[in-house]
Amino acid sequence: MVKKILEIENLKTYFYTWAGIVKAVDGVDIDVNEGETLGLVGESGSGKSVTALSIINIVPSPGKIVEGKIIYKGRNLLEKNENDLQKIRGKEISYIFQDPATSLNPVFSIADQLMEVIRRHQNVTKTEALQKAIELFRLVEIPDPEIKIWNYPHQLSGGMKQRMAVARALSCEPKLLLADEPTTNLDVTIQAQILQLMKSLKKKMGMSMVLITHDMGVVADVADRITVLYAGRVCETADTKTIFYKPKHPYTIALLTAVPSLALRRDKLAVIPGTIPNLIEPPSGCRFHPRCEYAKSICAEKIPSLEEIEPKHFVACHRALEIDIKSPLGVEKTAL
């Protein structure tokens, strides 16, 4: 029996702006098993980052967690006070932010920033902390760690900064790592380096990971299971192979077809008509129905619930069992 390290139930995080309430996350259910990598995919504005920020309760103002449960190892994190949360953040659950350039403090050296995390959560002296920091630098394969550690963030390249962010996130050997688009700003060759590094470190330390990305290629490579988000709701959750070969939600399928492929040159890319809806007044019923080619009248009226249509395959679509569309990848396989 696999143990669940994190369970999110019916999470609702709203932003109270002057224009109205933005329902960025509106009833999301996610669970992460121990030792597993969960990929969280969706376009910008689908609520991926807000979900992750909600887990450690650092949603920026005017955002607020309105409802829901975040159960980490049997304890509801939303009932904890700030003091307890600070003991968990960085130690048990750590976070890699999207942009390494802005998530590092420019006026402190890398050594200071790494040692701060280590000394806060572990009972060590300054020299021991420095030793640990250098060890971590070696772990993330930065050359000359003894010299590089005294550099300031602006002296490092983007790839180096992201390695440093990985090192900081792993400094206290967390049980759960939340990685928010860790490779989006990097070049492909550097992306390959960082992803490989994260994969091997994850195995070494036996931690669980939530990987947020919009790149279907990255999740295919790294994730064990995938949750697809759209406009603040979960569309589909299943293991990676099922999502790619037997997707059931029209949005998942559209997302897969819209990606240009290296293997096969198609004349025209499939297009999802329209844009992501305004989350102040989201569409009624299923939020994808205005852009969905399979939408029926029921889709505009009733909100679909997340149903288990096959073991471990959850879909939120009224017509998931009626419509039968093949995965674009399945088609490609036979064509090749």
Partner: protein
């Protein structure tokens, strides 16, 4: 490289762009070095073709494009558009001729959030080229505006709105409409979809392809995203540290890359298919500084097929190895 006859639409020959670095100080500013952004790039594009320029950040793709339009003047080298030396025209200070030339070549910038004036309406933005070039009589300008909006998939009522009212994909459409206003023959698209979402990206790529078929335009498409390049380009050149390392037809380049850098680049693209496990070539280190590029082959410090002496000493030339496939690598010539 042998000079080709001017049958090509755009021909770039040995283009070099160095940015000087000055020492600090007010009185004595001395040139202490140069950033070798583009260091001898040659290629040509046929009419109606899409030519892709790929490479990682800092390899000189954007500088090449900007230099072709004379947005940055070149250190040396020639560019011919339909056989005419464009730098001769740009340097002649003949304003009429320069405007005429500018009408032929247009640029779509990377970031649609930064390249539109927030204080101009869409109509102002798209009609400004009409005023500058004067190629459309006053009474016909609005007709042409609506025609252009229709061409890029926007509605007539969008004309009186401001850029902030649009999403990223729509803004990129406005940018494309603005470039089309002068009826260019060459469109340089610098990462036009890099900042857009997947579903919107597909819309813009399809639009570019449709426009090419309709208006018979030639594209220079710049990107670091190899899968979109594969999708829309006919010919592709891979750049590394200011030089072209490999150039071939898109199908040929993606199916049988020869340069070790191209091979590594292609293998590191994550493929959206969990069953295809590519044997990934992980390159050690990072791109070296273009201020002091490595001696010999510029890729040699990161190369896994390095032959000892030649690679560190002699800079390889771009050589045609047959089938119009050009490679600059000592290991490739047998």
């Amino acid at each position: 490289m042998k000079r080709l006859p001017y049958s090509q639409f755009l021909q770039v020959e040995n283009l070099i762009k160095h940015f000087p670095i000055f020492s600090r100080g007010i009185l004595l500013k001395k040139k202490i070095g140069a950033i070798h952004a583009v260091d001898g790039v040659s290629f040509s594009i046929k009419k109606g073709e899409t030519f892709g320029l790929v490479g990682e950040s800092g390899c000189g793709k954007t500088t090449t494009a900007r230099t072709i339009l004379n947005l940055d003047s070149p250190t040396s080298g020639q560019v011919y558009l339909e056989g005419n030396d464009i730098y001769k025209i740009f340097n002649s200070k003949d304003k009429k001729e320069i405007l005429k030339l500018r009408r032929k070549m247009q640029y779509v910038f990377q970031d649609p959030y930064a390249s539109l004036d927030p204080r101009m309406t869409v109509a102002d933005i798209i009609m400004e080229p009409f005023i500058i070039h004067g190629h459309i009589p006053k009474e016909k300008r609005y007709d042409r505006l609506y025609e252009l909006l229709g061409l890029v998939g926007l509605e007539n009522y969008h004309a009186e709105r401001y850029p902030h009212e649009f999403s990223g994909g729509q803004r990129q459409r406005i940018c494309i409409a603005r470039t089309l206003a002068v009826e260019p023959q060459l469109l340089i698209a610098d990462e036009p979809v890099a900042s857009l979402d997947v579903s919107i990206r597909a819309q813009i790529l399809n639009l570019l392809q449709e426009l090419q078929q309709k208006l018979k335009m030639t594209y220079l498409y710049i990107s670091h995203d190899l899968s979109t390049v594969r999708h829309i380009c006919h010919k592709v050149a891979v750049m590394y540290l200011g030089k072209i390392v490999e150039m071939a037809d898109a199908d040929e380049l993606f199916s049988s890359p020869i340069h070790p850098y191209t091979q590594a680049l292609l293998s590191s693209i994550p493929i959206p298919d969990p069953e295809t496990k590519t044997s990934r070539i992980i390159l050690p280190g990072e791109v070296p500084s273009p201020i002091n590029p490595p001696v010999g082959c510029r890729f040699n410090p990161r190369c896994n097929k390095k032959k000892k002496n030649r690679c560190v000493e002699i800079e390889p030339e771009l050589v045609n190895i047959g089938n119009d496939h050009w490679v600059a690598c000592h290991a490739a010539y047998k």
